[in-house]
Symmetry: C2
Subunit: 434 residues, 2 copies
C-alpha cells in the first residue's frame, strides 16, 4: 500500500509551526508496513489544494490529511476531498451534539460557525474526536475500490489519539504483514565506535537495524516484518540479543524512553537514594530526574552550587581544594559528590563541575571540560570529559548524560569505564581504574 501525507495549513508554509504531524504519521505508517512515498504541505487555497488532491489520488492508495478542518476554514479540505472521491457531505445531528457538549464542558457556548464541523461524509464514515470539536473522516474512492483518503484534525493532541485509537486498527486489519520495532539505547559509546562493533548487524534485510546518534547516546532501532505481531516481536527480540552479546551493559534499556527513567526505576528497585550537586549543569540532572513520576521515592536533594562560596558552605568542599585545584577539577567534583551525599543522607552522590562556555575557558581548562563524580559509601569515581567545539547546551546535556550513566552503573555495581577511582575522603589523590 503506497501512502502519501498531506498537511493543509498556511501557518506551515509561513514557517510558524513545525510539521510534527508528518513525522508522527510517517513513523506510524512505517510501523504498519505502509510505505510513504511523499509528504506535502499546501495552504488553505482551493485551487492549489484541489491540484494536490487530484495528483495524490492518482499516484497513491492512501492519502492522510492533517489540518484544514477548523470552523473558519470553510470546510475546504472536506469538500475538496469529498468531490475528488465521489462523495458528498451531510449534516450530522449527533456530531453537532458532541460539538455543543464539548463547548459546554469548558463553560462556553458553541459559536455558530462550528456547526460546519458537523458535516460528515455521506458514503464514507466519520471518526469521533475525543479531544476536540472537528471529527475525522474516511472517504473511499467511488471509482477505485481499496483507495482511501483519511482526514484528521491538525492539532497533534487531537490527531495523535484519533490516529492511534481509530485509524491504526483499521489500517492494521487491512494489512497482511505487521512491522514491529524495538529500540535499544546505548550510553558511553560514540556512534562511530559503536558502528565499528556492530557493522555486520546493520546490513540485515529482515530484521533491519539502524543507528541514530543523539547527544551523548546512540539509539539502535530494530524492525522486523512478519505475518503476526508475535512473530515480528520474537524476531526483534532474537536480533536484539546479538547486540546484547556485543554491547553488553552499555545497552541501558530496551523499553524505557530515557536514561533518567532507567535511573529512577533502578534506584527504586534497589531501595537506593540519590542526591546531586551541580555546577555547570545548573540543575539539569535534578530536573531530568524529577521529570519522572515517582522520583520523590529516590531523590531528596539537588544542590545547584554555582558559586565557590556556596560549594564550601552548602557542600563542605574544602577551601584548600578550591584554592589548590580550582573549581573545575576532579578533586572538587569528588568533594561535591561526597558533600551532597552526606548532606542528604543519600546512598549515591553526584558532583558535576566544568566549563560550559561560551566564555571562561583557558588553555589548560578549555570550554567543554567537565569533571563528573559519582560516589557511594565505598567508592568515589571521577570521569573527565571534553566536549569540543560545541554549544553550552550540548556541553550541559553531555555532562548530565554521563552523570546519569555513572549513577546507573554505581546502582547496579557495574564497572565504571573511563573513570578514575579513589577511596572516600581521599579526594586529592587519584588512582586510575583502567
Amino acid at each position: 500500500m503506497k501512502a502519501e501525507i498531506i498537511a493543509v495549513g498556511t501557518e506551515l508554509l509561513l514557517g510558524d509551526i513545525l510539521n510534527t504531524n508528518a513525522q508522527f504519521l510517517s513513523r506510524e505508517l512505517a510501523a504498519l508496513g505502509i510505505t510513504v512515498h511523499y509528504q506535502s504541505v499546501v495552504g488553505d487555497n482551493p485551487e492549489r489544494l484541489e491540484g494536490v488532491v487530484r495528483q495524490a489520488r492518482s499516484r497513491s492508495d492512501l492519502l492522510i490529511f492533517s489540518g484544514g478542518l477548523g470552523p473558519t476554514e470553510d470546510d475546504l479540505t472536506k469538500q475538496t476531498v469529498a468531490r475528488a472521491y465521489g462523495d458528498t457531505l451531510r449534516f450530522d445531528e449527533e456530531e453537532l451534539e458532541h460539538i455543543r457538549a464539548f463547548f459546554a464542558k469548558s463553560g462556553r457556548t458553541m459559536p455558530e460557525n462550528n456547526r460546519r464541523q458537523a458535516m460528515v461524509p455521506t458514503r464514507g464514515r466519520k471518526i469521533p474526536n475525543a479531544n476536540g470539536t472537528a471529527p475525522g473522516m474516511i472517504f473511499e474512492d467511488g471509482q477505485q475500490a481499496g483507495k482511501y483518503a483519511v482526514l484528521l484534525p491538525g492539532p497533534p493532541k487531537e490527531l495523535q489519539p484519533m490516529f492511534l485509537d481509530s485509524v491504526r486498527p483499521w489500517l492494521a486489519a487491512m494489512s497482511d504483514s505487521v512491522l514491529h520495532s524495538m529500540t535499544l539505547r546505548v550510553a558511553g559509546l560514540g556512534e562511530s565506535h559503536l558502528e565499528d562493533k556492530v557493522a555486520h548487524l546493520l546490513r540485515g534485510e529482515n530484521p533491519t537495524a539502524a543507528l541514530y546518534a543523539k547527544t551523548a547516546e546512540v539509539i539502535v532501532r530494530i524492525t522486523a516484518k512478519a505475518q503476526t505481531k508475535e512473530k515480528a516481536q520474537e524476531m526483534c527480540r532474537s536480533y536484539a540479543q546479538k547486540f546484547y552479546d556485543i554491547l553488553g551493559d552499555c545497552i541501558y534499556t530496551d523499553h524505557a524512553d530515557s536514561l533518567e527513567e532507567v535511573v529512577v526505576s533502578t534506584l527504586a528497585e534497589r531501595g537506593m537514594t540519590l542526591a546531586t550537586a551541580e555546577s555547570c549543569t545548573g540543575g539539569l540532572v535534578s530536573q531530568r530526574i524529577t521529570a519522572i513520576p515517582g522520583a520523590s521515592e529516590v531523590f531528596s536533594y539537588g544542590a545547584c552550587t554555582y558559586a565557590n562560596e556556596i560549594k564550601e558552605r552548602v557542600l563542605g568542599v574544602k577551601h584548600e581544594t578550591l584554592e589548590a585545584c580550582g573549581a573545575v577539577s576532579p578533586e572538587t567534583a569528588a568533594e561535591m559528590a561526597q558533600g551532597v551525599r552526606k548532606a542528604a543522607g543519600a546512598d549515591i552522590g553526584v558532583g558535576i563541575t566544568g566549563i560550559a562556555g561560551p566564555g571562561g575557558g583557558t588553555k589548560e581548562k578549555p570550554v567543554g571540560l567537565v569533571y563528573i563524580s559519582a560516589c557511594s559509601a565505598d567508592a568515589v569515581y571521577v570521569k573527565r570529559i571534553v566536549v569540543p567545539n560545541r554549544t553550552r547546551e550540548v556541553v550541559r546535556i553531555s555532562a548530565a548524560q554521563h552523570a546519569l550513566e555513572m549513577v546507573r552503573r554505581l546502582a547496579l555495581s557495574l564497572e565504571q569505564p573511563g573513570c578514575s577511582r579513589f577511596a572516600p575522603g581521599k579526594a586529592a589523590h587519584m588512582e586510575t581504574a583502567e
Copy 2:
C-alpha cells in the same frame, strides 16, 4: 516570486527525523517577502524525484532543495536538477581541496566516494559550505530566465549558515520589497484574555500582527512590508507601540529569546543576585537561568529540596509550618524563598512547591496546584496557580515561567498581579495585595 521547498530524504518519509529545514526556510523566505506555495518531501528515488522536480519547476519560480547531496547518494539530486534546468555538472578541483581539507582538520582521510561532492554546476554556481563537505549550488533555468533551483545540504548546521550567508543576500538583492518582523513576548496573560484586549490590532494588513500561544506565555509577531529595511523596521516599531500602550509591562521583551535571558540581564544591570529553592519543578528554574551565558554573575545557589526533611535542614523551613500547612502551601513556598535567599546571601529568593502529578493529588490540593514565592529584603510575594488537566511537564514549565516572571517584576519593582503579599518572616499570615 513563488517558491517551493523540497526535501530529499528517505529518513523523513520514515519519520526518523523532523523536517525542521522546511520551517527554517519557510520562515526565512516569508521574511524576504517570497511566498511559499508548497513544501514537499520525496525519497532518494530517481523517478519520483524527477517527477517532483518537473512539476515544481512548472509551477514555481524558485525551488529550494534540502538534502540529497551526501556522498553515498549518487548525486541524485544534483544530476536530476541539472538535467531539468538544462545544465551539466563539472568536476571542481578547488572544491575537492576544500573537502580534503575538511577531513584533514579532524584528522581523517577523505573516503574516495566524497570525490563526488566536488561535482558542481557548469553554468550555474556553487555555494561554499563552511560547516561540511557538500557544496550548495544554484541552477538558473536554461529556458526561462529568472527561474532558479537552489540546492542545500540536509544537516541544519550546514544548511542554516549557508542560507543566511550566501542565499539570503542573493535573494534579497532580487526582491523589490523587504519584510521585517518583530516579536513581543507576553507573560502573565492567557491567550484568550490577551486576544480580547488587542483584537483590533490583529486585523491590520500591513503591518500584520498574530498571536502564538506557548506554555505560559504568548508571542505577538508583527510583520511589516516596505521598500527598505529601515522603513519596515520603523513600521514594526510604531505598531509595537500600540501593543505597549495596551499591555504595558506584561510585554517582557521585544528582542530577547526567552524570559530567563531577560531575568539574567535585568538582574545583571541592577547588580542583583538570585537564589532558588525548588520542589516540584526539580531544578527547572535553576537550569533555565544557568543555560544563559554569564548567569554566574547573578546566580549563586539553587536548592532542589524534594524531601520535607531537606526543606527543613537546608532551607530552614519550620517543622511546624510543614506539619500545620503541608509541604504544598503558601507558607512553605514563602519560607523556602526566604530560606534560600538567606542561605545564599542573595537579593532575591524564589520558592516553588506544588503537585506536578500524575499522582499525589487530593480534593483540596489537586494535581496542577503550585505555590510560587519570590522575596526580597522588604517583601514576600506568593502566587497560587492551578494548571488543570495537564501533563507533569506542562505543570512544571508553567510554574517555572511564573517564578521567572515574578523575579523580573521584583527586580524592576513592578506590581505583582495575582499575588498575595506579606512582610518578611510573617509566613503564616497572608494578606491579599489585590
